[in-house]
């Protein structure tokens, strides 16, 4: 791992400069010169209509995809030159997806250990211990030995949330994490995400359609047709 990626925050934690992305068919320009800076510990919600480019942007911010143009900086260092984006994702980023994507053959406890194969925790015993602590954090200890098929959707998302924390990331990326949940479970998962972010000082970047979720963010970034059209703080908007 590049040492500069581990160092203390100097300026934004994550910064996108002039990001462009066109899909291979060349017809759709999903992102057009998008700039965004995210500070350490900030909770940013990205919203916008379907097809506006927010998921594409999240994938690029999460180093899952490379931009056609523009650069992404993590703690001031460009990721374009990084030798392994796999290692960067494994150590620095936690992902929470709308459809949970737990491995069906593994128990909840085992699912949490899957990212740890590429993480900093060496001994297997320590990994199991860490996974148990994370299950406890999301209130799922009693379901540790259960496979995903025996968990409710809300429980699955809580296990997926615990999995995203397996390697102690500094940045949590969540793509519609409450999109498949009923309102009670959605609130529960959102409360958990916000509480964990506050307790651990995590930076949280979330794509969402939900105004209720956006209201709880530090900043809401609105996108339209591959552009960022506005950025505002819900707290300040409420005061005004």
């Amino acid at each position: 791992m590049n040492d500069s990626l581990r160092g203390p925050a100097q300026g934004p934690l994550l910064e996108a400069r002039g990001i462009c992305k066109t899909y291979p068919d060349g017809q759709v320009r999903a992102l057009d010169k998008v700039d965004l800076a995210i500070a350490q510990g900030e909770f940013v919600a990205i919203t916008g209509p379907s097809g506006c480019g927010k998921s594409t942007f999240l994938n690029i911010l999460g180093a899952l995809d490379r931009p056609d143009q523009g650069e992404l900086f993590f703690r001031g260092t460009s990721l374009a030159q990084h030798p392994s984006l796999d290692a960067f994702r494994a150590r620095q980023i936690g992902f929470v997806f709308q459809s949970f994507f737990l491995l069906p053959a593994l128990t909840a406890l085992e699912n949490i250990q899957v990212p740890m194969f590429e993480g900093p925790i060496g001994p297997i015993k320590d990994r199991a211990k860490k996974a148990a602590q994370l299950l406890d954090l999301v209130g799922m200890t009693h379901r540790a030995r259960h496979r995903p098929s025996r968990l409710s959707v809300g429980e699955r998302q809580r296990v997926a949330l615990a999995r995203s924390l397996a390697n102690d990331p500094v940045l949590l990326l969540a793509d519609e994490p409450t999109g498949n949940l009923d309102s009670a479970n959605a609130n529960h998962v959102l409360d958990l995400l916000i509480r964990i972010r506050e307790e651990r000082g995590l930076t949280l970047l979330m794509v969402t359609h939900s105004p209720e979720v956006s209201q709880r963010a530090d900043r809401v970034v609105r996108m339209l047709d591959g552009h960022v059209v506005s950025q505002e703080s819900p707290a300040i908007s409420k005061k005004n």
């Binding site: 995809d65 994507f101 069906p104 053959a105 194969f117 590429e118 990994r127």
Partner: protein
């Protein structure tokens, strides 16, 4: 959780498909192990036939594709006995012949026939076979053929063959269309001999229209200070022998192990075993490829997630190859156990129990395990690479 635990759980997450793949592979590997095992047993058994009897050279007609079908003039034996260092020469006439399986029923012109191996020796060979230590032949019932039996239609049966036919000394069997009296039963360290017929050479020559002919002979040498050199010297002397017409006799003379390596009918057996095994291996690879491609395709989103959370391509490849290898090794285990069971059961079948030895050599099982592991890897490589190449963003969107 160990990485191996994850691989095992993935394999058995779809138990029906995994079990069917293991069974399919088991059949392929079992076929290979059984065929190669039988072929190896065959080679070993024939090698032992010569080596345990202390033969240093095996001489058969030279320049022939099927050495068993060639004949040598028996008169040459005397010349061989005169070669320095030669201590014993054992001529033999070998033939695969038809024997009636049971007594004829009233009105029957012939009973159903079976194919048996017939060996014919001169009387001196019989005396030596039962008198030396350890015994070549272990007489289990009756007596040994001797010179007085010449021309009287008598023979000996291997105990396995006798048991299959339900015969004992004093009974008759019909061989080459003629009745023969059984004078004794024997066991040999060689499974093929225990399932064979022994006759006097002169009787067999008469019945097979091969008067004065033999199919080969074996030679023992006096033990000297440089056995290899002495064997080579005698071998050269045999190759230079001339027949009654003064022309050089075309012979092949080789030490037993080399004879086994080169014998055309044994080569054919090995080639057949390998040919069928190769087909089984190809089927195994295709089956594995099919299973692993299906497995990777079904798990496209899972693999996308693993890539997203930071698994590098090499770990994805290791996971898929690990799954394929486990299937391969379990297939080999099933195949090896199946091959051992089938060859053991075959020894109870009268049709083949004179030709098949129970048990599979460890080398054949080892080879089966290695090839099955290779099948696993070969069948897993393409799906593993395909899985590793999946782009996380596209794989996650895959429906």
């Amino acid at each position: 959780m160990h990485f191996a635990t994850l691989i095992f759980k993935n394999v058995f997450a779809r138990p029906s498909r995994s079990v069917l793949t293991i069974l399919g592979l088991g059949v392929a590997i079992g076929t290979m192990i059984a065929l190669l095992g039988i072929s190896q047993n065959f080679d070993t058994s024939i090698t032992e036939t010569f080596e345990k009897r202390g033969f240093d050279l095996v001489v058969v007609p030279g320049g022939m594709v099927d050495q068993l079908s060639g004949k040598i003039d028996e008169s040459i034996i005397e010349q061989v006995r005169q070669i320095p260092k030669v201590s014993w020469v054992e001529p033999a006439l070998l033939e695969v012949i038809d024997m009636e399986q049971r007594d004829r029923k009233p009105g029957e012109s012939t009973a159903p026939v079976m194919t048996v191996l017939m060996q014919a020796w001169p009387p001196a060979n019989f005396d030596r076979a039962v008198s030396q230590t350890p015994k070549d032949l272990d007489l289990t019932d009756g007596r040994v053929l001797n010179a007085d039996d010449t021309g009287r239609g008598r023979l000996m049966l291997g105990s396995t063959l006798a048991a299959n036919l339900g015969k004992k000394p004093g009974d008759k069997v019909i061989l080459l269309g003629k009745p023969f009296e059984i004078v004794g039963l024997f066991k040999s360290f060689n499974v093929f001999e225990t399932g064979s017929v022994l006759m006097l050479l002169s009787d067999a020559q008469a019945d097979l229209d091969s008067k004065g002919k033999i199919t080969g002979f074996s030679v023992s040498l006096q033990k000297g200070s440089d056995p290899e050199m002495e064997v080579e010297a005698v071998r050269q002397a045999i190759l230079e022998l001339k027949g009654k017409d003064g022309r050089q006799v075309r012979l092949s003379a080789e030490p037993p192990r080399k004879y086994i390596e080169n014998a055309s009918h044994l080569k054919l057996t090995r080639a057949m075993a390998w040919m069928v095994s190769s087909i089984a291996i190809v089927i195994g690879v295709i089956s594995m490829l099919n299973t692993m491609i299906m497995s990777v395709m079904e798990r496209t989103r899972e693999i996308g997630i693993l890539r997203a959370i930071g698994w590098p391509k090499r770990r994805i490849i290791a996971m898929v190859l690990g799954e394929a290898s486990i299937l391969g090794l379990l297939g080999a285990l099933v195949g090896a156990l199946g091959a051992i069971a089938v060859t053991y059961l075959l020894t109870f079948s009268p049709r083949v129990n004179g030709f098949i030895e129970a048990g599979i050599p460890l080398s054949a099982i080892g080879l089966g395990l290695a090839i099955s592991f290779f099948i696993g890897l070969a069948g897993g490589v393409y799906p593993a690479i395909a899985a590793a190449r999946l782009l996380p963003t596209e794989a996650i969107r895959h429906e």
